[in-house]
């Protein structure tokens, strides 16, 4: 094993112009000099799978809430015998994770507790999950009910007559706190089933890997995958709308017009009205869907940017006109799933093995729909409402002249928003102008510069010395971080034109690469290009009809990107470490999704 190590975060300097960046994030999420010895003893890897871009200060709450909540289940609820939570830091604008192992002497004592606690959830999975849906829907409804608007000129007369004795700033502050609470709550729910879902999937996965040495990851995924998947519903709704448009003969109206104009024209005919009704019907809840990944305030959601789903529908319509099939072939997926399962099962040596296979697969199939679907309910739907409400609040500040753009609010940490609210409420109460409009724009500009400077440098793949063997199950499962992949990153400079990653979805193609840094750049993709990116989001699926293959820097076997690529039969290599910096737009590359290799043929 190599003794090579990654750079220490203490030696990894921020780009010029980013001085003072640490103040933008909570003190407990950055590296401190007095803890150097401690922190350098830990291995950190960059999670650019979920957070590929530099955080605005407010947005850091997504990593804070989610990774904290992941930890609470491992450490305090299930007592996963060998694994506590995952420590996380923000460094130079990107986030880095460090799995926390359990002291080996304590592992044995955790086993019976884990059996009781996790066992209860596995045994009552369906009923608990039914309740989970109610809880999450409850949170979403509560968030939807909250409104942020400018303070009135005077306190409502009814409040006076009812002797309320409060003013609207009280509720405004309370509502802001409530939104943060609800967001925190929904991230707890996010992990309520996820860790156990991964554990059960991993159990079946490990059994297959041991029983059928060399079995492709894809085989395991295909045996487990669901056929009707909520996560794919938004895309399926668009496909339905495209088909309806063709059926009703509205394709030309769609193709030749922007959304508003198209809707206006359709209002004038019966067919058009039918289509509009279908379009309206599809919105809730399925357009609460982002082209990002839910972790950034800048993520755009379909429901707020209807031109996005509309453009996808257009492109589906064009493909239908060319005679292509656009549906997810559910019957075929189901039949293939059954065939694969039966053939592997028939390959088992005996009854004991078949029983173990049946039991493990059975459990994996019970848990897997959650693993696929939670993403829609939390990252898409819940976070869609959360970010919309936060923008609604920011719009109030914009109207009050605190700053110019709705996005500006996110340059403040979440607790700093309290100061803005108090500043606003205080001025309103006293009848004097708030201080914000004079003070904040310069501060926002200063912070913008820092963030922009941070964004000029890509993150490091990891910090410090990697462990001899990566054993933390969730790290392996979710991030695809294995001893092998870490060593691969360390030696990535020496691999010439070849990159090695995870064989996420089979198929071999050659083509021209296009580097995509964000969802905004998706529109640059040309037919038949290969998308190379740090990470993909499931909501990018509609562009998959256009491209030949996908290559990502990071991602495990269960990453959202891997799941979606497999569903759509698109060759994919994930977790290459540095494809998006090593490959340049215009390079001719060869992708082998079955072998997990990418080769640069010519530049």
């Amino acid at each position: 094993m190599s003794t090579k190590a990654f750079i220490s975060p203490y030696d990894h300097k921020a780009p010029e112009g980013a001085e003072g960046w640490k103040e933008l994030y909570p003190y407990y999420m950055t590296f401190h000099d007095n803890l150097k010895e401690n922190e350098e003893a830990k291995f950190f890897f960059c999670d650019s799978q979920h957070w590929p871009n530099v955080f605005k200060p407010f947005d850091a709450l997504t990593v804070e809430f989610s990774v904290k909540c992941l930890g609470q289940y491992n450490t305090r609820q299930w007592l996963i015998p060998p694994a506590n939570g995952i420590d996380f830091k923000i460094h130079n604008g990107y986030c880095y994770m460090s799995p926390v192992e359990v002291d080996p002497s304590l592992i044995a004592d955790r086993v019976p507790q884990f059996m009781e606690r996790a066992g209860f959830y596995f045994q009552n999975w369906d009923s608990l999950l039914e309740n989970w849906h109610k809880k999450v829907k409850g949170v979403i409804d509560e968030m939807e009910a909250i409104k942020f608007e400018q303070l009135p000129e005077v306190i409502d007369i009814e409040w006076v007559k009812n002797g309320v004795g409060l003013d609207p700033t009280y509720h405004m502050i309370q509502n802001y706190d409530k939104m943060i609470d609800l967001c925190y709550k929904v991230w707890m729910y996010h992990f309520e089933f996820l860790n156990l879902g991964y554990a059960a999937y991993l159990d079946f996965f490990g059994f297959c890997k041991e029983t059928f040495p060399g079995i492709p990851d894809l085989s395991v995924a295909k045996m487990v995958q669901g056929v009707e998947v909520d996560l794919f519903r938004p895309d399926e709704e668009l496909q339905k709308l495209a088909k309806l448009a063709v059926k009703l003969g509205l394709n030309d109206i769609l193709k030749n017009n922007e959304l508003d104009k198209a809707l206006q024209i359709m209002e004038t005919s019966t067919e058009g009205k039918e289509w509009i009704a279908a379009w309206e019907g599809a919105k809730y809840p399925w357009f609460n869907f982002t082209i990002g990944n839910g972790f950034y305030s800048s993520d755009k959601y379909w429901i707020d940017h209807l031109d996005i789903p509309f453009e996808y529908i257009k492109s589906y319509t064009e493909r239908l006109e060319k005679g292509e099939t656009i549906d997810r072939p559910t019957a075929k997926i189901a039949a293939e799933r059954d065939r694969i399962t039966e053939e592997y099962r028939d390959s088992l040596p005996g009854e004991d093995a078949q029983n173990a296979f049946d039991q493990k697969l059975g459990l994996a199939r019970v848990v897997f729909p959650y693993v696929e679907n939670h993403n829609f309910y939390i990252e898409h739907w819940s976070m869609c409402v959360f970010w919309r409400k936060m923008r609604e609040l920011s719009a109030v500040f914009v109207k009050e002249g605190f700053y110019e753009n709705i996005e500006d609010m996110f340059y403040f940490r979440r607790e700093e928003i309290h100061q803005l609210l108090f500043d606003y409420g205080r001025g309103w109460a006293m009848g004097v102008p708030a201080i914000g409009p004079d003070y904040l724009p310069a501060e926002i500009a200063r912070r913008k510069k820092i963030i922009d400077a941070l964004a000029t440098a890509p993150p490091e793949p990891a910090f410090n010395k990697p462990p001899e063997i990566v054993t933390e199950p969730f790290t392996i499962m979710l991030w695809g971080i294995t001893s092998e992949s870490v060593q691969g990153w360390l030696s990535s400079e020496d691999t010439g034109n070849k990159l090695k990653g995870m064989a996420a979805s089979p198929g071999k193609v050659e083509g021209i690469a296009r580097i995509i840094h964000s969802a905004e750049e998706l529109r640059d993709l040309q037919d038949g290009e290969i998308m190379v990116t740090r990470v993909t989001a499931p909501s990018w699926a509609p562009v998959f009809g256009k491209i030949k293959a996908t290559v990502t820097d990071i991602g495990g076997m269960m990453s959202h990107a891997a799941i979606v690529c497999r569903e759509y039969g698109l060759p994919a290599v994930t977790g290459t470490g540095n494809a998006s910096t090593k490959i340049k737009t215009g390079d001719r590359i060869r992708v082998d999704g079955g072998a997990g290799t990418v080769e640069i043929l010519s530049t």
């Binding site: 085989s219 053939e343 499962m477």
Partner: protein, 355 residues
């Protein structure tokens, strides 16, 4: 009394007359697998030959007095028996039957009286699931003309009595009186590449895999171990190549058309290092292997060739298939923890950390 039977016309109840290899070819032909056409010289022909030449008693006596620890005696008795078989004239009706069938085969192939064939022995005790007789009997390749065919049929019969074969049977206590021999006469394949496919991983008994060994030319180089063949490990269910080890294959067995024999030829370095099968061909062989395994309902050891004379996509030819004999008789114990114990085991020993 049928002395010859074409693969296609042999009925299952007649398979007993064909020996292991012949029966396998007949049943594969019946199932419409891509087997080169041919016929078997049945065990009746061999019996008739022994009977008419009054050879059986002589042979049995010579064999029974052999003391296997006495190598000289083993060798000399073996040589005497084989010479007897090579010298005795064939019964007339047997000779006519073989000549007739060969003629028919030549006509079917469109090369009257001159079709190159492979002549292979197919003993009744051979290829039984409980005794891997592989390689105990002989194969003669690129045989042309009826006289040569007759000569080599006899050589096959004689090969039952090589010192090695006699020794093997004595050690295995196989009854000499039960021993019968059939001979397979089959259209020669102009093999660009040939090898074996096993419908399981012989390293670990994993039945979800197919393992292919492959080298340039006729399959003899692979079977005899004269070259280190290319090796492919394929997932049987997904038909996906998991590992391909391309080796330097320095020699190949190829027909010498002029001298009507097979010669060993050195391969130029560049071609030696090239894969002897394209990925598409690997997958095609696996597809066919899968069907064969399903047909016979147990793991198979299949000899195949890529026929240079046939178009791509139809060029995989099967030479024989027999049950895999090693793993099929083992019971593989797979102790896997289930339920919560299984999950704990997985969490404590995640993938990549297990020894």
């Amino acid at each position: 009394m049928k002395y010859t039977l074409f693969f296609k016309e042999a009925k299952p109840e007649e398979y007993i007359l064909l020996g292991g290899k012949g029966a396998s070819l007949a049943s594969m032909s019946a199932a419409d697998f891509p087997v080169p056409m041919g016929f078997s010289v049945t065990t009746h022909a061999y019996s008739k030959f022994l009977e008419e030449g009054k050879l059986l008693d002589v042979i049995l006596e010579k064999v029974s007095c052999i003391d296997c620890t006495n190598t000289d005696q083993l060798e000399s008795n073996s040589a005497e028996i084989r010479q007897l078989i090579l010298d005795k004239p064939l019964p007339n009706d047997v000779e006519i039957a073989i000549k007739d069938s060969y003629k028919q085969l030549c006509e079917k192939a469109g090369i009257p009286n001159a079709l190159p064939v492979a002549v292979r022995s197919s003993a009744t005790a051979e290829d039984l699931p409980d005794a891997s007789f592989a390689g105990q009997q002989d194969t003669y390749l690129w045989i042309v003309g009826e006289d040569e065919v007759l000569k080599n049929v006899r050589k096959c019969w004689a090969s039952l009595f090589t010192a090695r074969a006699i020794n093997y049977r004595k050690n295995q206590n196989i009854d000499e009186t039960e021993l019968l021999m059939s001979v397979v006469i089959q259209k020669m394949v102009n093999a660009r590449t040939a090898g074996v496919a096993m419908t399981m991983n012989p390293i670990n008994g994993d039945r979800s895999k197919i393992v292919i060994d492959s080298s340039w030319g006729l399959g003899e180089a692979v079977v005899s171990g004269e070259v280190t063949p290319d090796n492919f490990l394929v997932d049987k269910i997904m038909l996906q190549i998991i590992v391909s080890n391309i080796q330097e294959k320095n020699i190949e067995h190829v027909p010498d058309m002029f001298n009507k024999c097979v010669v060993i030829r050195e391969i130029e370095t560049e071609r030696a290092k090239e894969p002897s099968l394209s990925e598409e061909e690997v997958i095609e062989i696996c597809k066919i292997s899968k069907i064969i395994e399903k047909h016979y309902k147990c793991p198979q050891d299949i000899e195949w060739a890529i026929d240079a004379d046939l178009p791509e996509g139809e060029n995989v030819t099967l030479l024989q298939s027999r049950p895999e004999t090693v793993w099929s008789q083992k019971t593989i114990e797979r102790k896997a923890l289930t339920g919560m114990e299984g999950i704990i085991d997985t969490l404590m020993n995640p993938i990549g950390t297990k020894k």
